[in-house]
C-alpha cells in the first residue's frame, strides 16, 4: 500500500541524505521524494511516497522521528490529503497536430509552455493518477522526454502538519 508521509526538518546540510539513507538502510522503498523550503526559511518540508504495510509505516515514522533534525512527521491518510505533482512533457508535434493536442490539454488541465517546429512542451500539475491518464492520451504523438517533481501533499480543511 502507498503511504504519503510529510516531514518537517531543520534546513541543515546533509539532512536529505540522512532521510534517504534511513529509507535505504531500513529497507523501505521510496516511490517519490520532494523537498522544499517552507514559510520559515530554517525549515524544509519533505514529502515521501513509500510502499509498505502498516507495521512498516509505523516503524518509518518512529525512525524518522528519531533523526535529530526532524521537527515533525505525519503520515497523511489518503482520504484527508490533497496531493499534486508537476510534470513537464516534451512530445513530437507537427503543425497539423497542434490544435488536436491543444484540445487534449484544455480538457485535461495542462498548459503548453514551449513550442518548436516539430515539438511541444506541456506542463501539467495534478494527482499522480491524473498525470498517468494524461500521459496515456498524449503517448500516441510520441513522448520525447518527461520530467516530474514527485508528489507534494497537504491536509484538507483547516488542519496543518503542526497540529
Amino acid at each position: 500500500m502507498k503511504h504519503t508521509i510529510s516531514i518537517l526538518v531543520e534546513n541543515h546540510a546533509g539532512v536529505l541524505s540522512r532521510i534517504s539513507g534511513l529509507f535505504s538502510r531500513r529497507g523501505f522503498n521510496i516511490d517519490s521524494l520532494a523537498v522544499g523550503v517552507t514559510d520559515d526559511p530554517k525549515v524544509s518540508r519533505v514529502t515521501i511516497v513509500a510502499d509498505g504495510d502498516e507495521h512498516t509505516v509505523e516503524q518509518l515514522e518512529k525512525q524518522l522521528n528519531k533523526l535529530i533534525d526532524t521537527i515533525k512527521v505525519k503520515a497523511l491518510e489518503p482520504d484527508e490529503l490533497l496531493s499534486r505533482e508537476l510534470q513537464l512533457i516534451k512530445i513530437n508535434a507537427s503543425s497539423q497536430q497542434r490544435s488536436e493536442i491543444l484540445t487534449i490539454c484544455e480538457i485535461m488541465g495542462a498548459r503548453i509552455i514551449d513550442i518548436s517546429p516539430n515539438t511541444m512542451t506541456l506542463e501539467i500539475s495534478d494527482t499522480t493518477m491524473h498525470l498517468a491518464r494524461f500521459e496515456e492520451l498524449i503517448k500516441p504523438y510520441g513522448i520525447k522526454e518527461i520530467v516530474r517533481t514527485g508528489v507534494i501533499a497537504i491536509q484538507k480543511g483547516a488542519d496543518t502538519i503542526k497540529k
Binding site: G14, R18, K66, D69, I71
Partner: protein
C-alpha cells in the same frame, strides 16, 4: 579572539573531560598543538579504532561521554568500526576527526575522505564544521546528544583551516534543540497498566538489557524486582546488573545463554523488557514469544518499541525514572511456586570434565572471578572467550563490558585500557582469544606507555573457535580459515618483549597458581591458557 583549535580544547575542558584517546595526523595537528597547553591527558593508542574502543570503555565506566581523536582520511576510516560498535551498544562517545582544508573538500586531496558521509548510518549525529564561529555550540550539542536520551556516538569533523581560524570563545551553558527532547517521565496511564498486568501475572519475568546500566538504574531494578519478587534474566549487555548469585537472578538468555534463563523465558506468561532491544541473539523467535506471552516494553527510544517484537504495553521513558514510579505504585508479592520452579533448574550444576594438558576455560573463569575483588571490571572480547566469560563469571557488583551488538573482535584490550583510565582503583581484566588478541595486540604498547596494570587472559585454542564450532555443526565440520596455530607467535615471549609479565598455563592446577599471581600483580599481566581446540562454547 582565540584560535578555534584552542577553543576545541576549551570546549573539552568545559565538558569536564580529563582524558582523551587518539592518534595524530596532519589535519588534526592544530588541535594537538593546543592540547599540550591543557591538563587533559592524551592517551596515544596504536591504531585509531582502539582510540574509539578505549573511549567506549572509559564512557561505560565513567557514565559520561568520552572522547577519541583521529586525523582525516585513513585515521578517520579506521575509527569507523569503533563508531559502529559504540552505536550498536548505545555508548556515548564524541569522535573528533581532522579534515582537509575547506577550500580543498571535494577535490580528493591527500588523506581526504567524506567521514560524516561514511559514518552516517551509525552515528547518533554528526557535524562537519564549516563556520568556525559555530564550533562552541556544536561541541556543546555533541556532548549533550551523545550522553542523553538513547546514548550513542557523535562525530565532529573539523577541517584544518577551521582549526586555525580566530573566533570569539563563549561556551554555551545550554543547548537549544527544538527537535530533540527525549522522554524521561513515563506516561502515568501506561505505568498503571504495567502495574496491573504484573499484578495479574502468575509467572512474570523481567528481561534487563544494557539500557538499565546506561540509565544508571541497576539499584532501582533490584529494588523493584525484590519488592515484586519477579525473577530476572539479562541480555549480554545487561550482565552485571544483578549479582550472579542473587536468588531472583536466572542468568543470561538467548542463543548462548543458560538453561535457567531460557526456561524462564519460555515458561513466563508476562515479560517485562527493560532497556533491551530484543536482538536476534537474545530472542531468536520474537513472533512465537509474543504469541504466548504478554509483552511489556520499557525503553527510552520509542523506535525500539515494536521494532522486533509485538508489544502489548509500551512505556517510553528513562528506566531509572520509570522503575522508581513502578516501585511506588506496585504492591509487594510472593510468587513462591514460580520462583521455586525456576530455582530447581538453576541449582542443577553442569558437569564438566578436565581435558588432560588443557585448561578448562569455563572452570577457569569461575575460579578467576572467585579470586577477583567485587568491583572488578571484566571486559570480554568476542567469540568463545566471550560466552565462556558471560556464563561463568560470578558477577558480584563490578562491571562487565563487551561488544554486544556488533560483536567486534579486538574490543577487549582497548576497552580495558579506557575502563582502567576511568577507574584506576578497580581491577580491570580483559578476556580474549588468540584470534581476537591478534586484532589488538599493538595496544600492549599503550598499556606499557601508560603504565596501566591491566590484566589480560588469553584463551589460546589455536582456532577461531566460534567459527570453527559453526563449521563443525553446520558445514559438515569443513574447517576452513579457522586454524591459526601455524602463525601464532609465542604470546608469553611477545608480552615479555613489551616488558609485560606473562605466564602460560596448561592445567587447572597451574592456572589456579597463576590466578594468584595475576591478582597479586600491581603491574600489567598476561596469562595464556592452553585451551583444547574443540572446546565447546556452551
Amino acid at each position: 579572539m582565540i584560535k578555534a583549535a584552542e577553543a576545541m580544547v576549551k570546549c573539552l575542558e568545559n565538558e569536564g573531560v580529563k582524558v582523551v584517546f587518539g592518534y595524530p595526523g596532519a589535519a588534526i595537528c592544530p588541535f594537538y598543538d593546543e592540547l599540550t597547553h591543557s591538563d587533559i591527558h592524551h592517551v596515544l593508542v596504536r591504531r585509531e579504532d582502539n582510540a574509539g574502543h578505549a573511549a567506549s570503555g572509559y564512557a561505560r565506566i565513567s557514565g559520561k561521554p568520552a572522547v577519541c581523536i583521529a586525523t582525516s582520511g585513513p585515521g578517520a576510516t579506521n575509527l569507523l568500526t569503533a563508531i559502529a560498535t559504540a552505536y550498536a551498544d548505545s555508548i556515548p562517545i564524541v569522535c573528533i576527526t581532522g579534515q582537509v582544508s575547506t577550500d580543498q573538500i571535494g577535490c580528493d586531496v591527500f588523506q581526504e575522505v567524506d567521514i560524516t558521509g561514511a559514518a552516517e548510518p551509525f552515528v547518533k549525529y554528526s557535524y562537519l564544521i564549516k563556520d568556525a564561529a559555530q564550533l562552541p555550540r556544536i561541541f556543546k550539542e555533541a556532548f549533550y546528544l551523545a550522553g542523553s536520551g538513547r546514548k550513542g556516538p557523535v562525530l565532529i569533523d573539523v577541517p584544518v583551516d577551521i582549526q586555525q581560524t580566530m573566533i570569539d570563545f563563549d561556551y554555551p551553558e545550554s543547548v537549544e534543540l527544538r527537535t530533540y527532547k527525549p522522554t524521561v517521565k513515563g506516561n502515568t496511564m501506561q505505568i498503571k497498566k504495567v502495574c496491573e498486568a504484573l499484578k495479574a501475572a502468575e509467572r512474570p519475568l523481567i528481561c534487563a538489557g544494557g539500557g538499565v546500566i546506561a540509565a544508571d538504574a541497576c539499584r532501582e531494578l533490584r529494588d523493584f524486582a525484590e519488592k515484586t519478587r519477579i525473577p530476572v534474566v539479562s541480555t549480554m549487555m545487561g550482565l552485571g546488573i544483578f549479582p550472579t548469585e542473587h536468588p531472583l537472578y536466572m542468568g543470561m538468555l538467548g542463543m548462548h545463554g543458560v538453561r535457567t534463563a531460557n526456561e524462564a523465558v519460555s515458561k513466563c506468561d508476562t515479560m517485562l523488557l527493560i532497556g533491551a532491544r530484543v536482538g536476534d541473539r537474545a530472542v531468536c523467535s520474537p513472533k512465537f514469544l509474543a504469541e504466548t506471552t504478554k509483552i511489556i516494553h520499557i525503553d527510552v527510544d520509542p523506535a525500539e518499541i515494536g521494532k522486533n517484537i509485538h508489544v502489548d504495553i509500551p512505556l517510553v521513558g528513562d528506566c531509572k525514572n520509570i522503575l522508581g514510579e513502578l516501585s511506588a505504585h506496585i504492591d509487594n508479592a510472593e510468587r513462591k511456586d514460580w520462583l521455586e520452579e525456576l530455582s530447581r533448574v538453576k541449582n542443577t550444576v553442569p558437569h564438566e570434565d578436565e581435558t588432560q594438558g588443557y585448561v578448562n576455560p569455563k572452570m577457569f573463569i569461575r575460579k578467576l572471578s572467585a579470586k577477583l575483588p567485587e568491583n572488578t571490571v571484566c571486559v570480554a572480547d568476542v567469540g568463545q572467550n566471550q560466552i565462556w566469560t558471560c556464563n561463568n563469571f560470578n558477577f558480584k557488583g563490578g562491571r562487565f563490558l563487551t561488544s554486544g551488538g556488533m560483536g567486534t573482535m579486538g574490543y577487549s584490550i582497548p576497552a580495558a585500557i579506557g575502563a582502567k583510565m576511568a577507574s584506576l582503583e578497580s581491577e580491570v581484566v580483559a578476556v580474549c582469544g588468540d584470534g581476537s588478541f591478534q586484532m589488538q595486540m599493538m595496544e600492549l604498547a599503550t598499556i606499557v606507555q601508560e603504565k596501566l596494570p591491566v590484566k589480560i587472559i588469553l584463551m589460546r585454542n589455536n582456532r577461531l573457535g566460534m567459527v570453527r564450532e559453526l563449521q563443525t555443526n553446520q558445514y559438515g565440520d569443513n574447517q576452513t580459515a579457522v586454524h591459526i596455530a601455524d602463525g601464532n607467535p609465542d604470546f608469553v615471549a611477545l608480552a615479555k618483549s613489551y616488558g609485560i609479565n606473562a605466564e602460560r598455563v596448561c592445567t587447572m592446577a597451574e592456572a589456579e597458581a597463576a590466578i594468584e599471581h595475576l591478582c597479586e600483580s600491581a603491574e600489567p599481566y598476561l596469562l595464556e591458557c592452553n585451551v583444547w581446540r574443540n572446546e565447546s562454547t556452551l
